[in-house]
Amino acid sequence: MSVNRVIAALGLLALALVWLLDLGAIQPNRIVPGTGHGLVSAVGWGGAALVTSALAGAILLAVLRVRGRYLLLLALIGLSLALLPLLLEVFASRHLPEDSPYARSSVGAGFWCLLFLLSLMLIEVVGQLGRRRGLQLLLVVVIGSSWVVFLQSDGLESLSLVREFNARPAKFEQALWTHLTLAFGAVTISAVLAFGLALKMMRSPAWQRPILGLVSFLQTIPSLAVFGLLIAPLSALVAAFPALESLGIRGIGWAPALLALIAYSLLPMVRNTFVALTEVPEELADAGRGMGMNERQLFFKLKLPLALPVIIEGVRITTIQAIGLTAVAALIGAGGFGSFIFQGLGQAAMDLVLLGALPTIVLALLADALLTMLAASFRPAAARV
């Protein structure tokens, strides 16, 4: 057992940044920039000592050769991450003026750095412990639920992000549903299309080049251009067939967004489905035939199950991409979390920008984690690592 230089380095960096940068700021109202507070000013000497000793403890454990130190590190870092919002609560209770209802506290660079570096330390520790799925899930649930409890408590009511949310809970919920519907709708439709295209490519190899060429051409065109290019044709279509308008189809809005998202989703989906289905070893297919399977059984009982993990990997890439692109689609009026981002940028209200950007990132990370686990669970037992 040797010194873990990674955790030691990350811990030292975290220690330096949390002392050098502002932990948080107090703003008199929504637009005026706030006054920053460093670690000691924000949470007092007691809080600063607690943060410092937690980080110093992690560094010490990384350097010392103690038995079971990674489990100790896991507990220490996991607990620190779960309790991180407490810092903001203490900060708000110490500094928020009681007589001004518009005053709000906001998160500073020091806090973000601490969150980021602690997360990296956690990733390293989990890696050292051998990436047990159950353990990862437990950590995510514990830390996630702790944050949810903190964010709903009264102590963080003054946090600018919470204020922005409380100002529009219905809109937030609507944005969440629009975002999910658009992204998952596009992924589902493109999965069906891609499956059909992949089968076509398998049956008639002459189609392979044109189909792959077309879908990778579609992916090359930047999203903003695709959204823009769809407006004119869709408007013309609606002008020609007014019945379409009663379905809610217009030059801007969800219709061009969905079309563009499907077009983008095709490349990763078609490529992975095709590669997965064609890379099933011929010996296995022969063995299946020898057992008396017909081509249909061979496909459903052998090829498809074997191809499933790679197909799900395609779904994962596509879903992450679709969640990000749906945020861009807010520019053409499709709604979703992107509308908060662009509204916030327009009004120079940074907390509104965060209210759009952070949930988009969380959605992408969640989709990534869930689909990675799903793909792993479909992998044949012998191939599991």
Partner: protein, 247 residues
């Protein structure tokens, strides 16, 4: 030389359209009959194109340097401890949507070109980093052993054996990174960077489809030009360094 024909033709078309867009005024009047002004004139298209390309090139150059340096560090004996973490960062970082990264850069750095350069660089270095690691890690250890046996120093092994062998994969990473960054720089118009996204955003705000079309066509052409340029570069690389692959 036929390899370089598509990028050259596309580049000529791109620059031609950027300078000659006003000549197409009748066409855009036909598309957008209810507007007086149908050609975007707040900034010349050529200026927007230059600025767009400049942002992408600067961020790609800085991103490539940082990513290749990081990749080399994490695969040397002294930095090997960091390899699992660095490769995890490269893959987890790519789940962050580019537009969210762009949006997060604004509260930290303000509006304008600075946040977009930083966001483009940080986001763009991830695919390059991943490919650098993959390229360096996939080299057959026997090759490195042979190079050392010939009396090469570790630096010589890196420069003369490892980097040329990993170069093709790194180039593919740069291609992915530049493709993403052209698209992200276009969205950068919303945070005050002057790129080809400007006419699109202005058109969307004013309900002027002609502006939207002009911006979208030029952005699309820029992406296609760059992509065909990388295609030609990759093929040239294959021919020079591994003739058996090019066939």
């Amino acid at each position: 030389m036929r390899l370089w024909l598509p990028p050259v033709l596309l580049a000529v078309l791109l620059i031609g359209l950027s300078t000659g867009m006003p000549a197409l005024e009748p066409l855009f009047h036909w598309i957008q009959p209810d507007k007086q002004q149908v050609i975007y004139e707040r900034e010349s298209f050529l200026f927007l194109l230059q600025n767009h390309v400049f942002l992408v090139i600067v961020s790609a150059a800085a991103g490539t340097l940082a990513a290749v340096a990081g990749g080399i560090f994490a695969t040397r004996p002294s930095g090997r401890d960091f390899l699992p973490l660095v490769s995890q960062i490269a893959s987890i970082g790519q789940t962050f949507p580019p537009v969210a990264v762009l949006a997060l850069a604004v509260p930290v750095l303000g509006f304008g070109e600075a946040p977009i350069l930083v966001a483009l660089m940080l986001y763009g270095l991830l695919p390059i980093l991943r490919n650098t690691l993959a390229g360096l890690e996939s080299i057959n250890p026997a090759v490195k052993e042979a190079a050392r046996g010939m009396g090469m120093s570790p630096l010589q092994v890196l420069v003369r054996a490892e980097l040329p062998l990993a170069g093709r994969v790194i180039l593919a990473g740069i291609r992915t990174s530049v493709t993403i960054n052209i698209a992200t720089a276009a969205i950068g118009s919303t945070i005050g960077a002057r790129t080809l996204g400007d006419p699109v955003i202005a058109g969307l705000v004013n309900g002027n489809t002609a502006y939207v079309l002009q911006g979208a066509i030029l952005i699309g052409l820029l992406a296609l030009t760059t992509d065909s340029l990388f295609e030609a570069l990759e093929r040239t690389w294959d021919r020079r360094f591994s003739p058996q692959v090019a066939g």
